[in-house]
């Protein structure tokens, strides 16, 4: 066992897949010699050479398009977005070309687009976004949002092996803040579409993912200590495919659901989860499905403003307590 960070776990996953499969290669801005803006790919170019870790121009649309072409030919490109905010620059090619390729043209496009998303780092409006909802709505894409060190590794490996295009939302706040012992002699491979019960509970389910899992766990702990109720925290791990079975099982167990996400509220993924619960577990609800999300604003820069706009542990606590008393 060795203690690694979330960021190191990602790097291990990339390295192992590149070792396993010579078709796996990385492309993106500053990923080579420098190892990426956050150093996720540090050392990989030295290890695998400039042909397998490619520094590109600042051209997100071209990077994604080129990855798609290589993927059609049987390669397994892993694209880094320097910040996930900039995936918007590749929105056209991702939604119109990549997502439709299999359906329209029978083309396999096994690419992974990964990069740092999320706030809490004073990054301002263009270095803090959680742009999953825009792609969640696009059939043909898979969305992965690891919350733990182990999943960071296990899910990136599974994403690379997946035959569909995967957008892999890392959380930059977690990069160097969480650490975990990972076994060195065992392959970690986390299947896409299987949620994880991060905390068992009986009175309320919090459905969440990525960095919010940690805030939900904090809230769950406080409630257990101060209120005597137990909260189940369900870490979805992947938004597409979504583990409906795990959600419904937890709803049937606790009968109350709070969905927590860092993205803004209107049109956020929580709305879809709510709809699925209504469709599949309506009679098991002992309260309305509620949401804790960011406010519907661009993400501001000042710490006071960012902290106000983003969901905090206290917001989760407040809403959870209200729902528990419902």
């Amino acid at each position: 066992m060795a203690e690694v960070t979330y960021l190191e776990a990602l790097r291990q996953g990339l390295l192992e897949e590149m070792e396993r499969d010579p078709e796996v290669f990385i492309l993106g801005e500053d990923v080579g010699k420098y190892g990426g803006a956050f150093k996720v790919t540090e050392g990989l170019q030295a290890r695998f050479g400039e042909d397998r870790v490619i520094d590109t121009p600042i051209s997100e649309a071209a990077i994604v398009g080129a990855a798609a072409g290589a993927a059609h030919m049987g390669m397994r490109p892993v694209v880094e977005m320097q910040f996930m905010d900039f995936i918007a620059c590749a929105y056209d090619i991702l939604t119109n070309y990549v997502a439709t390729a299999r359906y329209r043209a029978g083309l396999s496009t096994p690419i992974v687009i990964r990069g740092p998303s999320g706030g809490f780092v004073r990054g301002g409006p263009f270095h803090s976004q959680n742009p999953e909802a825009g792609f969640f709505h696009t059939p043909g894409l898979k969305l992965v949002c690891p919350a733990t060190v182990r999943d960071a590794k296990g899910l990136i490996k599974a994403a690379i092996r997946d035959d569909d295009p995967v957008i892999y939302f890392e959380h930059k706040y977690l990069y160097r803040r969480i650490k975990e012992d990972l076994p060195e002699d065992e392959e970690i491979l986390t299947p896409l579409g299987k949620a994880r019960v991060a905390n068992e509970g009986a009175d309320l389910t919090i459905v969440t993912w990525s960095a919010m899992v940690w805030k939900a766990l904090e809230a769950a702990q406080t409630i257990e200590q101060e209120d005597g109720a137990t909260v189940e925290v369900l870490d979805l791990r992947t938004l597409l495919p979504m583990d409906d079975e795990a959600i419904v099982a937890s709803v049937r167990k606790t009968n109350k659901v709070l969905i927590v996400h860092e993205d803004t509220r209107t049109g956020g993924v929580a709305g879809e989860i709510t709809a699925r619960i209504n469709e599949q577990a309506f009679e098991w609800l002992d309260g309305p499905v509620m949401r804790v999300t960011a406010h519907d604003t661009p993400l501001p820069y000042a710490p006071t403003l960012e902290d106000h706009v983003l969901p905090q542990t206290d917001d989760i606590l407040e809403q959870a307590r209200w729902l528990l008393a419902y």
Partner: protein, 433 residues
């Protein structure tokens, strides 16, 4: 004395911690503003940290080689030249926001859905939905429990999963006086009972669920309906004679022939003729009930309960008599089914059982009338004989009171009903048995 903190800066968005690599100044050294005082290293970069103020390095909190989280205070500067270096640390934090221009007030959380401001009343559907969740309704259906009879501890009196499970757990579900599960004409909002000062030596105990529910219901009913009460004296002499004659026969057939059986029979017959008394008010509409389900208030040691004789107009005297005994018996032994206390359309209460001459009953919502039956006993009564002569006779008499909802039942309606009821009871045909 002024002290200024030196903090570990965050140099990079993902950077969570930094290491003090070297102190360039020692405690006691004078430093100028922006003069380098230490070197740090992070996962990304090494940097010299300039002093945030002019002063003396008063305290080093993090030694060389140690790694701390960003924003951690790593040293303290004394900016007052005269202050001792060893003075206790009293960190001056980085400036906190104290005020901002044009603060935008967060919108107030909306009031919980509750009494409507426009004075309209919620519909039965609304009331049901507000009182229960899908899960609670599912459990209620499975266990045949009337949700409205459960005291809710959730927001706005909502029945929670815990409430209904506890209710079912408690054995035979008691069926307190409560509105049936169908239309309700109650204004939304919980009843608030004023608090009263307890004097020394007083005993204060919380109301039981059934007591609280009854209390709320009574106040709610008074607030909902325009109560008026009419009184009629009924001569039971004829019925007493029939009862005496048929008592044994009924007993042989497993029933007990009570005065109440006659009253229920006559009431059921007359409700057919006077549908406005077998009705409910729903918003601006009147619901005339097809079924005639007569509730019969039963006093128990732990409260009041109203089992319902369903479709009383379809029952024979024997059927009615059997029902009365059966329901009352099972009410006392907590063996009533939930649906046996639901969907009453008219209620009879019997204060006379304790000897009361008569009472003024409160309507059992959402019904529009309730009949009170006073003591049935022998009283002197003036009779006019066929020849016009008045005599005082010993008759079996009872005083009846009808409280009815004047919103939809006019005085004439109530009195006609009572007059018909009186006539039928006083001329009860023996053959009807």
């Amino acid at each position: 004395m002024a002290r200024v903190d030196v903090i570990m800066p965050q140099m990079g968005e993902s950077i969570a911690e930094g290491t003090v690599s070297r102190w360039l100044k020692s405690v006691g050294d004078a430093v100028k503003r922006d003069e380098p005082i230490l070197e740090i290293s992070t996962d990304k970069v090494d940097a010299e940290i300039p002093s945030p103020a002019e002063g003396v390095l008063a305290e080093i909190k993090v030694p060389e080689g140690e790694t701390v989280e960003v924003q951690t205070v790593i040293a303290v500067l004394e900016t007052d030249k005269d202050a001792a270096v060893s003075a206790p640390s009293e960190p001056v934090a980085a400036p906190e926001p104290v005020a901002a221009p044009e603060p935008v007030a967060a919108p107030d959380a909306p009031a919980p859905a509750a009494p409507r401001g426009d004075g309209t009343v919620e519909t039965a559907e609304e009331r049901l939905r507000q009182r229960s969740t899908p899960l609670v309704r599912k459990i209620a259906a499975e266990h045949r429990v009337d949700i409205t009879q459960i005291h809710g501890t959730g927001h706005g009196g909502r029945v929670t999963k815990k409430d209904i499970l506890a209710f079912i757990e408690s054995g035979a579900p008691p069926a307190p006086v409560a509105p049936p599960a169908t239309p309700a004409a109650a204004p939304a909002g919980a009843v608030v009972h004023p608090t009263v000062e307890a004097w020394p030596g007083d005993r204060v105990e919380p109301m039981s669920k059934i007591r609280k529910l009854t209390a709320d219901h009574m106040v709610m009913s008074r607030r909902t309906s325009a109560h008026v009460t009419s009184f009629y004296e009924i001569d039971f002499t004829g019925i007493a004679r029939i009862r005496q004659a048929k008592k044994q026969e009924f007993q042989d057939r497993g029933a007990k022939l009570t005065y109440m059986a006659f009253i229920v029979k006559a009431v059921a017959d007359n409700l057919q003729k006077h549908p406005v008394l077998n009705a409910s008010v729903s918003g601006d509409a009147i619901v005339y009930r097809k079924a005639i389900n007569i509730g019969m208030a039963v006093a128990l040691d732990w409260g009041l309960i109203v089992p319902v004789i369903r479709d009383a107009d379809d029952l024979s005297m024997l059927g009615i008599a059997k029902s009365i005994v059966d329901l009352a018996d099972r009410a006392r032994t907590k063996r009533l089914n939930p649906d046996e206390v639901q969907q009453g359309t008219f209620t009879i209460t019997n204060p006379g059982v304790f000897g009361s001459y008569i009472g003024t009953p409160i309507i059992n919502q959402p019904q529009v009338a309730i009949l009170g039956v006073g003591a049935i006993e022998k009283r002197p009564k003036i009779l006019t004989l066929d020849d016009g002569q008045d005599v005082i006779a010993i008759r079996t008499m009872s005083m009846f009171s009808l409280s009815y909802d004047h919103r939809v039942v006019d005085g004439a309606d109530g009195d006609r009903f009572m007059a018909d009821l009186k006539r039928d009871l006083e001329n009860f045909p023996e053959g009807a048995l």
